[in-house]
């Protein structure tokens, strides 16, 4: 198959523990949790108090800045606890399921008779709106903006990330319906698929299909937008995860907010890595029980992939945007003379200072060790090697640190999201926290430019 977009830069990290394509349903616990931190920049205002009953799809909280934007419950039951942190910031909203799944039913509108305003308000009221995120800034889309397009990445390239075609195998129709809904919101819907894709995705209608060839981060939607139709100052692009497109589709056929999630539980210390059918906010403990964790020491449980996911813990829950749960061993051990180059092949490195490059097919059980300490920026060229965009990553990061807004605009801050810089974190010899720098810079832009 020919590719419309061919990317040579990037890095595919050979991490052990890929999920086998076998969809399981595990026991679910009746504990569910919502994390307002999943929604960057949203200040939650509660609708429901501790101890009150909720139905599936009933708004639990809304955004302070945009009261129309509702965040709904993934189960019916009671709101058992609101966990607050410093300055009474809400960290967790814990729900206890009653197992009945009594759902809030919305009217099923006929799509062809709806204006984009109606679709927007329906998505906002039903709790589906947060599925739509925007570039620039990598936050929930502003419903008042008009996007230049909706972009969907039909493949994941991050290490151990869920296989999109497999996720959607049983939701093909819902996916198509979701596309039809999104098509009312923007002049164009773009779907990027892998160059060698042979799944149903290549036959989806109502979208412009782009075949993308390349290794990670070629599957990042931001990288695809950059090559399809780059974002200029003042423009917005909306992005939606593939399974969330199917959820939006189901809202318009069943009238119910569907919190269904297909989750790849993967990682080097997972005994039987596989896919699970679960839902947003479900406790992950039963999943990990079923998949099995083989590590003897501490482990790191990550909501998302190993490069840009969020740390959670054994009592945590499935995040709002996740299709991957990664488990790694904690790397809190010392390595004697571990910096010696050419001393072994066990250490994976994109530089050829480890003999690992002689074994291109080997998979590695990487852990969370930093493999060194933070240092001044010395080595050049490595960031460029892993960022397949027409952007100077080191220069952009330096301007971000200096908070020079004009230069940040000039160097393309509107086109990037933290996840696009995840490999820069990974590859940096000086152990720079590029994702954090980009996130802070985007927040500064929201404040200063809006």
């Amino acid at each position: 198959m020919s590719a419309d977009i061919s990317l040579r830069k990037g890095l595919s990290i050979p991490l052990k523990g890929e999920a086998t394509k076998d969809l399981k349903t595990s026991k679910t616990s009746d504990n569910f949790t919502l994390y307002p931190d999943d929604f960057h920049g949203v200040v939650p205002k509660m609708h429901v108090k501790e101890g009150e009953k909720v139905s599936l799809g009933q708004p639990v909280f809304f955004s302070k800045a945009n009261p129309e934007m509702q965040f709904v419950s993934p189960v019916s039951g009671t709101l058992s606890k609101i966990v607050r942190g410093a300055k009474r910031r809400i960290l967790e909203i814990q729900l206890k399921s009653d197992g009945k799944d009594k759902a809030v039913k919305h009217k099923i509108p006929a799509l062809d008779k709806l204006s984009d305003v109606d679709v927007k308000s329906h998505l906002l009221a039903s709790g589906c709106w947060p599925f739509i995120k925007q570039r620039p800034y990598d936050v929930i889309a502003n419903p008042d903006s008009t996007p230049k397009g909706v972009f969907i990445s039909g493949f994941n390239s991050a290490p151990l990330a869920a296989d999109v075609a497999f996720l959607l195998e049983q939701q093909q129709e819902d996916f198509q319906n979701g596309i039809n809904v999104l098509a009312t919101l923007a002049p164009k819907v773009h779907l990027s698929i892998s160059a060698d894709d042979t799944s149903f995705l290549s036959g989806v209608s109502g979208v412009e299909i782009h075949r993308v060839k390349g290794i990670h981060p070629a599957g990042n939607v931001g990288v695809q937008v950059h090559h399809i139709d780059p974002i200029n100052a003042g423009e917005t692009a909306w992005v939606v995860n593939p399974e969330d497109v199917a959820s939006i589709g189901r809202l318009f056929t069943t009238g119910v907010f569907d919190p269904q999630r297909t989750l790849a539980v993967a990682g080097p210390v997972v005994t039987k890595p596989s896919y699970y059918k679960t839902r947003i906010g479900a406790a992950i403990a039963p999943l990990l029980d079923d998949a099995g964790v083989s590590a003897s020491g501490q482990v790191r449980i990550i909501n998302g992939d190993a490069l840009s996911g969020a740390t959670t813990h054994a009592d945590g829950s499935v995040g709002f945007y996740n299709n991957t749960l990664t488990v790694l061993a904690e790397g809190n051990h010392f390595r004697m003379f571990g910096w010696l180059p050419f001393a072994g092949s066990k250490i994976f490195s994109m530089s050829r200072t480890s003999l690992s490059w002689l074994l291109p097919k080997r998979k590695y059980a990487l852990d969370t060790n930093m493999n060194g300490e933070e240092r001044a920026l010395v080595v050049t060229g490595e960031m460029e090697q892993v960022l397949p965009m027409d952007i100077f990553p080191m220069q952009l990061l330096k301007e971000c640190m200096a908070q020079n807004i004009e230069k940040m605009e000039g160097l393309g801050i509107y086109e990037v999201a933290p996840e696009d810089f995840a490999l820069v974190d990974y590859a940096s010899t000086s152990k720079i926290e590029a994702q954090a720098i980009i996130r802070d810079a985007l927040d500064l832009m929201i404040k200063e430019v809006g």
Binding site: L15, S308, F334, L340, R375, K431, Q435, A436
Partner: protein, 384 residues
Amino acid sequence: MKLRERIDAIKKPFGKGQKFERFAPAVNAFDTFLFVPNHTTHKGAHIRDGVDLKRTMVTVIVALLPAFIYGVYNTGYQYFIQSGIAFTFWDALLHGALKIMPMVAVSYGVGLAIEFAFAVYRGHEVNEGYLVTGLLIPMIMPVDIPLWMVGLSVAFAVLIAKEAFGGTGMNILNPALTARAFAFFAYPTYMSGNKVWVSEASNVDGISGETVLGSLAAGNDVSYSMFDMFMGAIPGSIAETSTLWVLVGAAILILTGVGSWRIMVGGVLGAAATAFLFNLWGANALMSFDWMNHLIVGGFAFGIVFMATDPVSAAQTTKGKWIYGILVGLFCMLIRVFNPAYPEGVMLAILLMNVFAPTIDHYVVEGNIKRRKKRLNVTLTPAS
């Protein structure tokens, strides 16, 4: 892990809130030399590449070693050949080692002392950059230079070229070349002429030796074959003479991805093209010196492989690296040919381009910004 426990016990008084917290960077430098620390990721990517600055810098040292060892041998070889004493390979190596190891010790001693002091003063960890600089400085000095001059040059380079600009990663000039330039201009009689390039030449009358470029500049004939010049059995700064072993180092740097091949290739292209044009012109001895020989004599090969590729002082953008490399080669030949006072042009060529590297990068980056602006203007005013 007994050793580990002992180290942790030693480090205790240097911990957070403890009595000697200020001096922690100095202790950490030794600790992290023994052990890669147990630090784990806290934000950002949860997994990190196996490479760190220590690994990178040690790789550069590995790449330097072939040229260094040959330089040690050549020091002895030149001495014994000149003085007419029969010798073996090991005699030559030993003679060279006795001459050069004290220089290395002085270079590391003085340089690291300053680095440690600044790390403690500024409260950051000791950066590994000096591991390379400290070895490079003796490698590019004439063998007969007094040790105190080595020490003084090192101090000048680290203080003025590096720490005054903010330390590792901030310097404009390559510190090792700055050390050499300092010695060159402060003590010219020890850095040029025919009495400095061969061991003991300054003490023993019978011994003398000029570099190839020196003799050419003085209008003399060159008695060395191209093979000698390539292998390195000629007088010169300690480790610069052997193009063969420099190329081995270049191969290590390029293969590991630690050194920029763009700068190296650009430099060779720039120098070859310039030297070739001068060959056609041929107005003086250095101009008509064969362009291929220009690439293998003097410090050109060593400079372009190990000094011009210093990532901090070189251009940092991909396009910039090409321009920078080509210009280093070009200026090296220009200085060699047009200025007989400095027959070796590579030191000044690299230092000059170090100064211009930020400007080159500026225009490359500015091009990216302009492209983005242009795209914006096109969208704002669609063709009607």
